[in-house]
Amino acid sequence: MNVQVPVTVLTGFLGAGKTTLLNRILTEEHGRRYAVIINEFGEIGIDNDLVIDADEEVFEMNNGCICCTVRGDLIRILGGLMKRAERFDAIVVETTGIADPAPVAQTFFVDRDVSTRTRLDAIVTVADALNLPAQLAECHEAAEQIAFADVVLLNKIDLVAEDALVAIEARIRAMNPWARIVRTERCQTALETLLGQQAFDLKRILEIEPDFLESDHAHEHDDNVTSVSLHSEVALDQDRFQDWFSALLRDRGQDILRSKGVLSLDGEDERYVIQGVHMLMEGDFIGAWPETAPRESRLVFIGRNLHEMDLQAGFEACRVR
């Protein structure tokens, strides 16, 4: 009864290929039952009881947290789906092209009913390799969708030359160092590369290897969304880290889109793992340090105006003296 159904969030601009992907999920013989929650502009031609319409209803919470918005419709629909007698292997939520992915992700942090019955598996962003540079220039939502992604499906690669693809990938990397980039034509990739990622499982964060390219391509564009990776071989003081990190999220959480880290806290034998979406964060001790791995802390931020936050200095001040 208490198995949490994984939920994959599918973002991407209109025309990027979300509908193609959803049609594949609904029609291919994969032997699994997927419920698909489509948005009001969805173009799915398939009408069956596994397709559910949603109006994106973004609600503010009365918890004193200015950027804490949730998807009210999603809370309602996921609650309704869990009442069905037939069980689902997974649920896919499509967002509108211009949607900010934050409210969807925050819904899983904030709502207890949602987080006990379902779990956020991953945010998958379908990007149109040909049009992504123009979309990044014109709409901040495009940058947010890249920034939030656990997987970027770089679609329509047949329309773009190899050197341009390399440049686009470098640009995506600069904004989001941990997303896995999957190159496709017409979204042709095994569904297993997109679904069942467990990207929000704290245990999986232990495996993240942020990919910071040393390439100069990344700096050719003045992208508003950037990432910062911090590293320390000296253990962190627990109290100072908690004070710094919570103040940071409280004061600058609107600009910090996502954060992830594996920390070595002074006096603790286990690794402390954290992840955050804007001002919301969760953390836990997950297992002892492996003997082969160095005891070091790594913390990655994705957001806007990160250079204004003195992240390096703030982080270093948390080190045990």
């Binding site: 009881d49 209803e57 309704g80 009913d113």
Partner: protein, 344 residues
């Protein structure tokens, strides 16, 4: 690990594993009706065989007594509102395509039937063929008719709207409070409207002067609201016991603490049931236990059913307090004769 031991009363129970989550239970005269996640309604009547009716194609999301005695009204994720008689005959009264029918209500006093689909509430008045359609700024979170059946309260994002039917149509009264409102109920005397919210609290208004009430302090969201007893009390879920607010006097629960009964030993109450004539409440918990409690001071809790490990999702009791029907999230139904238990 069971927290509440099995009871002798359970030996008298009729257990039925339907395999389909129980989404609602109500008593229509001495018949108990359960609604399920596979679209079925099940009816339990003493001395008669149980009945199973396939009323919907998907999950039944809402259930209420119909305006005519001897029938129930249900809404489902198949987009339909269905009327089903206690003999087991079903009729689809309205269909809304891919919109779910999440709330239904009906009044014997006025002959109204109502349901919600998306942002709209549809009302069918007796003798009028067409439905009146009332639109709202966001999806309807909850809906209730008052005892006279002339006003409908609708919970949505940003507050509650009460629509009162006058000679020239509906007059909306907007009761604003920021946040998402997920459930709503009128007090039996029609003086108060209470809503449950996305946040762990209730909000309320006295309609006469719009004085507002705030009932907070719950550790989780409040899903269950039930008027019980003669005072009356508003029994609620969402805490480690049943939280019961007194609605006597002019001010109701303003500046008064609730009475808390049915201590769940660390479990959260997920369901409350009772009847209007008796100051008692049945409380179901997330571990499946069901406790009986008297609302008079000093009453002791009694275990009706021990822990099962599966949350109680719906519960109903007949008006004569002879039969209780407990449903859970896994689809197990437990039909209990209450008089078999001493004192209950």
């Amino acid at each position: 690990m069971a927290r509440f031991e099995q009871t002798p009363l359970e030996a008298q129970a009729h257990l039925l594993d339907t395999g389909a989550p129980v989404t609602a239970v109500l008593a229509e005269a001495d018949v108990l009706v359960s609604a399920h996640g596979d679209g079925t309604l099940r009816m339990f009547e003493p001395g008669k065989p149980d009945r199973v009716i396939q009323a919907h194609r998907g999950a039944v999301l809402a259930l209420c007594a119909d305006r005519d005695a001897g029938a129930v009204l249900s809404g489902g994720d198949d987009g339909r509102m269905v009327r089903t008689t206690l003999e087991g005959h079903s009729d689809c009264l309205a269909s809304f395509g891919r919109h779910w029918v999440e709330h239904v209500a009906a009044s014997r006093a006025s002959g109204w039937r109502a349901c919600s689909a998306g942002r709209a509430v549809h009302i069918w008045r007796q003798g009028v063929r067409h439905a009146d359609v009332l639109e709202h700024p966001s999806t309807v979170g909850g809906m209730a008719l008052d005892a006279r059946g002339r006003r409908v309260a609708v919970a949505h994002y940003g507050g509650v709207t009460v629509h009162e039917r006058g000679k020239r149509g509906y007059r909306p009264i907007k009761l604003a409070f920021s946040g998402s409102h997920l459930g709503v109920t009128f007090s039996p005397d029609g003086r108060f409207v209470i809503s449950s919210m996305q946040e762990n609290m209730l909000r309320g208004w006295r309609l006469g002067d719009r004085a507002d009430l705030r009932m907070a302090g719950y550790p989780t969201k409040v899903h269950g609201l039930r008027w019980v007893g003669t005072l009356p009390w508003l029994a609620t879920t969402g805490a480690g016991f049943a939280v019961c607010w007194p609605f006597d006097g002019r001010d109701g629960p303003m500046d008064r603490p609730p009475r808390t009964v049915a201590e769940g030993r660390g479990q959260i109450a997920t369901c409350v049931a009772g009847v209007s004539g008796a100051d008692i409440v049945f409380t179901g918990f997330e571990d499946g236990a069901v406790l009986f409690a008297e609302l008079s001071a000093g009453g002791e809790d009694r275990v009706v059913r021990g822990s099962t490990g599966v949350a109680v999702s719906a519960m109903g009791v007949t008006p004569d307090l002879r039969w209780l029907l407990i449903g859970d999230e896994a689809g197990l139904l437990c039909h209990l004769p209450l008089r078999a238990a001493q004192g209950i």
